[in-house]
Each structure stands twice: as structure tokens, then as C-alpha cells.
Amino acid sequence: MSPLKIDKGSSSHSAYDLRSHMSDAIETHTLAVLVQNEAGVLARVIGLFSGRGYNIESLTVAEVDHQGHRSRITIVTSGTPQVIHQIKMQLDRMVPVHEVHDLTVEGPHVSRELALFKVQGKGDHRVEALRTAEIFRANVVDSTLESFVFEITGTPEKIEAFADLMRPLGLLEVARTGVAAISRGT
């Protein structure tokens, strides 16, 4: 509410129609964007999201074809179907963008994330942490007498679940890469 007690959505006082036109449910989509690997291309893509008010839940980027100067950006985003459609259209018309794939609608796909967990603990907590890590197939990549660093890969849900279990066991720090995703089959 503004100081003038104007209901949000009322627009008789404004040059803009403030009401949301689509009350559709929010969907989460994973997009794979193949771009020319050139200076500023990531800023261009991120600028599109911030400039137009779209969400980024996760973003990863790395060069995937050194000779062809191609990078792959994996973006997990959320919005109404209309917004998701706009995001894809807006990405696709950018000059350095070669391909846009909506993995969520194009068929089954695999999403993976890598995370590093630093866990501090002694005695039973330490043993329990190690046992849980084994169940989740996490690797120990660093160890001191009072701490472990676990490396785990999996879906974001699996990593969340692992974090939940580690928290009471002395979780100190988490580093996550964000989602990389690819379609199943050929």
C-alpha cells in the first residue's frame, strides 16, 4: 500500500497497469543456453534477467567447445508459463546466443550438482558424519583430526538432503556449483 492508500493493482492514477495479468502457477524450468564464448556474454545474459525482472535460481557456465568458442550456460529459473516463454524468446534473440533448450519440456534430462561440505566434529558425530557420507556416496577430500571436507554430486534435492543430515553433525561451510543438466538419450 502506498501512502495514498492506493490498492496495489489500481491503476487509475498511474501510466502503467500494475495488476498481474496471469495468475498461473509458478513453474521451475532448467534451460541450457549455448553461447559464443566472448567477452561480456555472461553479463549480457545475466543483465537480461535482472533488467526484465526474471528469477535465477541457479546458474553455471563454462566453455564446452574450445575450438568453436562455445560456452554452455545452465540456468534454473522460475516463473509463470508466459514468463518462461518470454525468457526463452528473449535469450534466443540475443546475438551471441546460438541455441536455447528448455530441458524441462524437451524430455527427460539429468541434472547434477557438485557440492563441498566442511563438517567439524569429534567422537560419535565424526563417526556418524562419515557413515552418512558413505550412504550418500560422498567422498572425503580433506581430513584433519577434527574435520572432514566431503565432496558430493547429485541432484539439488540429494544435496539438500545431505545438508539436512550434516547440520546437526557440525556443518561449518557449504560450497555448491549450481546445476549442470543435459537431456537423456540422443
Binding site: 489500481s10 491503476s11 487509475s12 492514477h13 534473440r93
Partner: protein, 584 residues
């Protein structure tokens, strides 16, 4: 065999190869090598503006009046930041311009050097594409690529940032045919199946309307020709956005006039009541649609646009057609004719009967005065006295702009340059200069308000220097007219800062610039004064003192539907009801 030359020489060489005849610019430290090359050649004329914003708007005016990209050359730092408004304006209105900026030497980038700004960072959101060229070997190909991207697909502004050491260094010149362009080839042919479905709808429609926009103009004169053929052969009514005026002639019998917030009654009601809306090269801007939920509720909608992101952005399209307007129109005509050129003649005739009733309202009528010049009257007289000239009109932004769109008639494309999407006050004067540079012998008039005009009046210096006889027709109401109108209707007549208490004497100002000043405040003298303006062989500043409190009608208040438009002062009572007075 490759030719070796300095980066600065490459810039000039590449511009010549691209067929550029005019550059609008302003020199500075970081572009001195390029200016040195410009000095030593005769192929390209450089127009020295007075402010970099003026250079970009002039290039926009040039581009819109010729269909060719406008070219700008400015220095680093403030030169580049001053260009930002023009770039944004060109992006919103899809105008092809190529802006070349100087930059501090590569080894100083990031050091907060003198006149350093992160030009590609600042202009990334307001260009279609931009580049920082770090190697002289890449410079020529980047400039060629810039022209390609600016003009292909949906046109727009591009920017090439060139560090000073890159200008001095020597490298290989890449010729236009060898430059990289194949990665950007937007689709221009529309999907034939969808076009055929649209043709079927055209054959059956009972209440059709064409709604056309700037895309028709951008597609080129041939597209306007095809549009005229399609409209005249189907006999369907046609309306246009502010950007699309001139694609179909104002004197054409199917012409309904402009639509939108200040569009004509018959145009907006036809949009509201139609059963088939054929959008060709327009983008359902909020000035057009009004309240989305009630926008043309009972129609099937076709949308032809070269930019896929425009389709289904605001309004759902039943016939989405991605392609260049000219190509799609050609296909529509071909398929429609092959199927026998059918329309639902009886129903369309009834539809025209309905439209005639709306037209009879005569929504552009106004109460004239014998004592003061009404702005509408001023434009009617301007129209009557100039319509037979080889005429180009630019405008500033505000009430005068809407009145110009309502009362002036455009018979051809590329004759009307106005800042539509961004609404940039200060656009018209430099744009008129750009138009006049392209058409030296034509009559170029900037229809202005005094407040907008003051924003880039320094460009009169440019007009005088290059003997560009632009006519600045200032409708002076000593107010920010459109702001004042909104304050009256929606903010309880509290006129917060919507007038200037210290305006210049425009006639003396004209004399100070070295051009002619004319002042007129009496309707009886107006015709003679306009004739005097037209007869003068040089730039004129015409101070037309008009009624100070005139409101621009028709008007669809923001957030209202097309059928809730206000036709005149009497209608405004309902806008500010008891609830409204709390708001205002």
C-alpha cells in the same frame, strides 16, 4: 592479399565500404586519430553537432528518413555516456544506428583513466549488440558485423568501442564480404500454414481491422506498397500506431486514423469491437492496449513480427507469424488471391456502417477561438499550408506530439519521425537536422513544445553551421502540457512544477543563433506567419503562442479499456469521482 593500415584509417575505409555518406559526431581525445583520417578524405561528410545526444538523435532522424543506418562518432567517457539516451531511444523504436566511440588505450582500461567509462558495460542493455575491439586486426570485421546486425532482423542500435592504441596500430583490413555475418540471419519468411489459416480467417471475418506499426516502415517502402494493396483489395479498415503513420496514406478511404491512448474514437472502438485483428509490425504497447484484460475481448488476433519475443509477450496471438512484414504480406496476398480473393462482403459492409457511426462523433473536433491560437488549429493550418510540399515532420514529446499525429496527414512512409517507445523530450530538433541532411531540398518541420525544444536547442548551432533550413514550429503554451493535463485530471489540479517561469525570447534566441525568429499569437496572423516561415531559405524558430490550458483528446485514461475513452472536457467529470479525489 590483405591491405595493411592503421585502425583509424580502417574505420573510415569500412564506413566507405558500407556506403556511408554522413557521420554525426563530436571529437575528443580518444577519437583524434579517426578525426585525423576524416580530415584527409572527401567521401564522408561529418556533421559536427553541439552535444552527443544530438548526434544520436540526428542519426536516428537520418535513418528513419532514408531507411539506411545512421552513423555516430563520439569520444570516450562523457561522449559515450551522452549517447546513452539516444541509444535507448533507438532500441525502443527499432532504429538502425551504428555508434562508434573512442576509448582510452587498452593498457589503461580499468585504471580510472581520464575520460574513461565502461562504455560497453553501460550500453549493453541499451544496444542490440556492442563490442570492445582490442586488436586492430579485428576492427574492420567488427564494424562490418555491426552494420549487419544493426540492419538485419529487427533493426536497432549497435556500438563499437575503439581504444586509442587500436586506432594508432596497424593491422589487416578485412573487406565486407569476408566479415563474419552468417551467425546472425534472422528468419524473414513466415510459416505458410499459419499464413493460410490467417487467410481463411480473412475470408470469413465479419468485423476485421488491420492494426499496423513501425515494422511496416522498417521493412521498407515495398512493404508499405503491399500493405496498401492488401487493405484496398480486402476493403478492411486500417489503423496504425504512432510509429507506423504513413505506411497507409492518411487520405486513403480505409484509414481510421491513429489508435491508442490519444488515438481516434473510431480506431479504438474498431479495435475493441473487431472479430479479427491483424497486427502487422506492431507490438501491443501499453499505450495501445489500455487495460489488457479488456483489450479487444472478442477477436481472433494475428501478429506478424520479425522478433519472436514480441509475439505472445503481452497479448496472446491466435495466428503467430514470425517473419519480415514485406515477405509475410507478399505471402498473404499470394495465398488469398490464389483462393479467389474472398471476403465476407456483406458483413464487412455492415461493419463499415458501424464505423461510420463512430466517425460521425467527429472526435477531433475542438472549440476554436478567435482570440487565442488553439494548438489544434495551428496544426490544421500547418497541414493545409504544407501538405503539398515534399515534407518531413519530426516532433518532440508531449501534447504537441499527439496533436501532430492526429491533425497532420502522412501519405508516405519515412516522413514522420517521433520518439515513440522511450518518449524522449529533446528528440525533435536534432532529428530534424538529421532528416534535412538526408533531404537537403525538402521541407523539414519539427513540431515542438517549448519545454521539449529547450532540451536540445543547442543543435540550432548545427543547423546554422551547415545551412540546414529546418523549421522549428514551437507550440508554446508555457507549460509542460501533458504533465499539466495529467495533474489536472488525476492530481487535483495541483500543478507541481509543470511550467517554467523563465522562458527565453525565442525570436531573440533565433537571432543569437544566426537564424530567423517568428512570433505569432493571433489566429488571424497565423497563415501569414506560417507562409513567412516556409518562404525563408534557412532555419527558422517559430514561436507560436497557443492556448495554455488546452487538453489533448480523445484520451483513454491509463488502465482503462478502449471503450472507456474520454472525448472532451465534459467527459473528464467521471474520471475524478469521490474515490478519485482521494487519489488525486
Amino acid at each position: 592479399m590483405t591491405r595493411q593500415m592503421t585502425g583509424a584509417k580502417m574505420v573510415v575505409e569500412a564506413l566507405i565500404e558500407q556506403g556511408v555518406d554522413t557521420v554525426f559526431g563530436y571529437p575528443g581525445g580518444a577519437v583524434l586519430p579517426i578525426y585525423d583520417e576524416i580530415f584527409q578524405q572527401n567521401h564522408i561528410e561529418h556533421i559536427l553537432v553541439r552535444h552527443e545526444q544530438g548526434a544520436v538523435h540526428a542519426a536516428e532522424g537520418y535513418a528513419r528518413a532514408t531507411g539506411k543506418p545512421g552513423v555516430v562518432l563520439v569520444t570516450s567517457g562523457p561522449g559515450a555516456t551522452n549517447a546513452v539516451t539516444g541509444l535507448t531511444d533507438a532500441l525502443m523504436d527499432s532504429i538502425p544506428i551504428v555508434v562508434l566511440t573512442g576509448q582510452v588505450p587498452t593498457f589503461m582500461i580499468g585504471s580510472d583513466a581520464f575520460q574513461e567509462a565502461d562504455t560497453v558495460g553501460i550500453t549493453r542493455p541499451c544496444t542490440k549488440m556492442n563490442w570492445l575491439v582490442k586488436e586492430t586486426d579485428h576492427l574492420a570485421s567488427t564494424i562490418h558485423e555491426a552494420f549487419h546486425i544493426s540492419t538485419k532482423g529487427r533493426p536497432g542500435p549497435v556500438l563499437v568501442d575503439i581504444p586509442k592504441d587500436v586506432q594508432f596500430a596497424t593491422g589487416d583490413y578485412v573487406e565486407k564480404p569476408r566479415a563474419k555475418t552468417d551467425h546472425y540471419q534472422p528468419r524473414i519468411k513466415g510459416d505458410v500454414e499459419t499464413i493460410t489459416a490467417l487467410v481463411e480467417a480473412i475470408e470469413q471475418a465479419e468485423r476485421p481491422v488491420f492494426y499496423t506499426g513501425g515494422g511496416v516502415i522498417n521493412s521498407g517502402p515495398a512493404a508499405s506498397g503491399l500493405l496498401r494493396e492488401l487493405v484496398d483489395q480486402t476493403g478492411f479498415p486500417i489503423t496504425s500506431t504512432l510509429m507506423g503513420l504513413g505506411a497507409y496514406p492518411a487520405s486513403g478511404e480505409k484509414w481510421l486514423g491513429m489508435l491508442g491512448m490519444h488515438g481516434l474514437y473510431e480506431a479504438n472502438l474498431a479495435m475493441h469491437g473487431c472479430d479479427l485483428m491483424i497486427n502487422i509490425g506492431a507490438r501491443f504497447d501499453d499505450r495501445i492496449t489500455g487495460r489488457i484484460a479488456d483489450f479487444s475481448p472478442n477477436s481472433l488476433k494475428a501478429h506478424v513480427d520479425i522478433d519472436p519475443s514480441s509475439i505472445n509477450k503481452v497479448i496472446h496471438a491466435d495466428f503467430p507469424i514470425i517473419g519480415d512484414v514485406g515477405h509475410v504480406l507478399e505471402d498473404i496476398l499470394r495465398i488469398w488471391k490464389a483462393r479467389g480473393s474472398k471476403t465476407n462482403k456483406g458483413a464487412v459492409k455492415n461493419w463499415w456502417g458501424q464505423i461510420a457511426d463512430w466517425r460521425a462523433i467527429n472526435c477531433l473536433s475542438f472549440k476554436n477561438s478567435e482570440k487565442t491560437i488553439k494548438p489544434q488549429y495551428a496544426l490544421q493550418r500547418l497541414e493545409a499550408l504544407t501538405k503539398d510540399h515534399d515534407r518531413y515532420i519530426t516532433t518532440e514529446v508531449g501534447q504537441h506530439q499527439m496533436w501532430a499525429a492526429q491533425y497532420l496527414g502522412f501519405e508516405d512512409p519515412n516522413r514522420w519521425m517521433t520518439s515513440g517507445g522511450l518518449g524522449t523530450m529533446g528528440y525533435g530538433t536534432p532529428a530534424s537536422i538529421g532528416v534535412q541532411v538526408a533531404h537537403r531540398d525538402a521541407l523539414v518541420i519539427n513540431v515542438a513544445g517549448e519545454a521539449s525544444w529547450l532540451m536540445n536547442m543547442q543543435e540550432m548551432g548545427t543547423a546554422v553551421q551547415y545551412r540546414l533550413p529546418v523549421k522549428q514550429f514551437i507550440m508554446n503554451n508555457e507549460r509542460l502540457g501533458m504533465v499539466r493535463q495529467w495533474q489536472e485530471l488525476l492530481h487535483g489540479e495541483r500543478y507541481s512544477h509543470s511550467w517554467s517561469e523563465a522562458l527565453p525570447d525565442f525570436v531573440k534566441l533565433a537571432e543569437a543563433f544566426g537564424c530567423k525568429g517568428i512570433k505569432c499569437d493571433n489566429p488571424d496572423d497565423l497563415d501569414e506567419a506560417i507562409k513567412e516561415m516556409l518562404a525563408y531559405d534557412g532555419p527558422v524558430i517559430f514561436d507560436c503562442l497557443v492556448e495554455k490550458h488546452e487538453n489533448c483528446f480523445p484520451m483513454i485514461p491509463s488502465g482503462k479499456a478502449h471503450n472507456e475513452m474520454l472525448l472532451g472536457e465534459a467527459d473528464t467529470q467521471g474520471v475524478i469521482d469521490a474515490k478519485g479525489s482521494v487519489l488525486v
